[in-house]
Subunit: 217 residues, 2 copies
Amino acid sequence: MNLEVKLMKNILGANDEIATQNRKIFSERGVVVMNLMGSPGSGKTTLLEKTLALLADKIKIAVIEGDLFTAKDAERIERAGVDVIQINTAGGCHLDAPMIQKACAALDLDAIDLLIVENVGNLVCPAEFDIGENFKAVVLSITEGDDKPLKYPLIFKESEVTLLNKIDLLPFTNFDLRAACEDLTTLHPTIKIFETSCTTGAGLGEWAEWLLGKAAR
Amino acid sequence: MNLEVKLMKNILGANDEIATQNRKIFSERGVVVMNLMGSPGSGKTTLLEKTLALLADKIKIAVIEGDLFTAKDAERIERAGVDVIQINTAGGCHLDAPMIQKACAALDLDAIDLLIVENVGNLVCPAEFDIGENFKAVVLSITEGDDKPLKYPLIFKESEVTLLNKIDLLPFTNFDLRAACEDLTTLHPTIKIFETSCTTGAGLGEWAEWLLGKAAR
């Protein structure tokens, strides 16, 4: 085992310990946590804005925004009227459990039903780090292509739900919806799939309803 | 300095040494190397197919394909009739210099003018690793949104050229082309920008011409 592998194990071990602590605290405080992942530009922040608009009067939601730099996304989410904490990774490619632990110190967890963590835009690294969430969700936009589940399998295996987003652009692409759904269920037989568009509103009601069910469990 | 930072420095130091060796070999053999980066689904492989079709009778090109898993992209490129080596990172989020060194052992560098390395689909990690290339290029698709240069600045600072790809989808998005170009040139004043579409063919001729100039230098 070379140094790089050994260190990665140390890093992941330390991360998992804090993730377990986070999970315990979330459970004690009655907060359900979703780790929302996807490529840059898959539409995570816009989807989040629409989701907040649909759910904000039904449950108490807070958001943690992960970005390399800038607070652009946090500023957008703040306009939806929910508490939001921005984490800047200063170039780092994913959020980890210690970052979430620190961010949560600034949140009143007792006043929250659902905490949504929007991870750094990246279809690879975020899937490897447990942050103490209850479940992971991945947004795949139609314009990214139907080959992505097999090319980036870990994130789809780890996620309880996939949102096939920007579904309104389907007619302008060669995306094979049936093939993508087959690949997704091959990778992850129980995966839940929603087809959504933040432009037309398609699928957003069903998605929000499902998320509400998760938060109320 | 904690263990994680220390190790990252070791990893990068070892990588940079081999990148320097790679660069020396490429220079001796007269091979120009482009490191092609971008998000998953930004259109790198399709752009590469179109580029090969335009340039294959003018210069000798070989391709190294980086993917986490599968040889799907290498199979597509092979159909274009050029030599292609697939690197599977087994989940790793970027290509590094040792991977390129190994892959090049299977290529006849003396018979190549231009080596194109298609990196793993990721707008973060590949930008941090020198592989010994002459220049980096980044593909940003219109559907990813105009906020990406400021949110992922390193990759745009590091790249000599940005391809604003899927430009045919501009009318169906709220992408602000002028704002994106302004942000790109603020980050990187000498950056070259092409607007391309592999669906309509827009911009591909100018891009191929520019690349030909780089390879012939």
